[in-house]
């Protein structure tokens, strides 16, 4: 079953979106979004994986040693950084919403308020 990591990534996406759809708390929703994003890490790392490959740095291994795909790793790194920054921004938004509206339930937010 060599497609299992790919399927696991899709599963994480669906579980996260399910959490987003049914969420009654905005902090919980932000957590679910990070689960969705973790699915992309799993997918990228699965795509870049190479059986028998080692970490892609050549300080103490000879050139020509099989390594895992560094491009997929670099993309995952980008993903992690952007994800962390986005999570911080979203949590700050939730904090403001809680202060202004007194609730973190997305369904209870009905109108715009200054």
């Amino acid at each position: 079953m060599s497609a299992l990591p790919y399927l696991a990534a899709g599963w994480m996406l669906l579980v996260g979106v399910h959490g987003l759809v049914t969420s009654r708390n905005a902090v919980h929703a932000v957590g679910c979004l990070t689960v969705v994003q973790s699915g992309t890490y799993v997918l990228l790392l699965a795509v870049g994986y190479r059986r028998g490959g080692t970490a892609p740095y050549f300080t103490d291994i000879p050139a020509g040693t099989p390594v895992v795909d560094p491009v997929a790793q670099a993309l995952t790194l980008t993903d992690v950084v952007v994800g962390a920054a986005l999570t911080a921004l979203l949590l700050a938004l939730v904090l403001q919403t809680a202060k202004r509206h007194g609730t973190t339930d997305p369904d209870a937010l009905t109108g715009l308020r200054g």
Binding site: T22, G48, Y49, Y57, P66, V67, T78, A85
Partner: protein, 241 residues
Amino acid sequence: MSRAARVRLFWAAALLFAAGYVVACLELPPLGGPFHPYGERAVAAALGRRTANTVSSVNFDLRGFDTLGEEFVLFTAALGAVLLLRRTRDEHVSAPRPGRVLPTVRLAGTVLLPVVLVTGVYVVAHGQLTPGGGFQGGVVLATGLHLAYLAADYRVLRRVRPRAVLEVAEAVAAGAFALLGLIGLVRAGSFLENVLPLGTFGALASGGQVPVLNAAVGLEVASALVVVLAGFIDQALEIES
């Protein structure tokens, strides 16, 4: 849309997506295969530019322009978080009360704080050689600083964390990346083109501009993280409505 309708819509979409996704996954190349055309080219390019850590070479050399965009995503997100978390007119600040810290925690924090900071600097500085780099090292630096909060209390953290300086450092680091790109444009004819000597493979001075861009990103990540966490901690401890 009502709650029940929303959940039904999700299930319909999820089943459709799952069916298509499973078919797509079964057609993908098997996991761990030897065919990685981009990876092989990236490794060859990194070795040619005397950068031992291929991931850093991809991020700061091959995809340098992309990383510039990523750095500005980080900068903008941190700026947005700080704006959202600032004190508004109807809120006032109260001094947080010091909490009790177990002596063992205090000792562990005091011993670990300098170790973690040195480790962070090491990870940033060796980004072109070993796994790690500006992003990872920056996070180590910023989280390490918060050992002061765990081991002592908020007032100590405020003393070891000059927030105003770090806010400036964040902007300067983001600007430095763009400026290095412009130097490449002026000296070599294209944005972010390497103008530095490539150095010796495997030595600290190797990879041309990679360590310099790495350092800029390390400073940016560390200061952005500290500033954002400062905003959150202020909200939790000091600001009352």
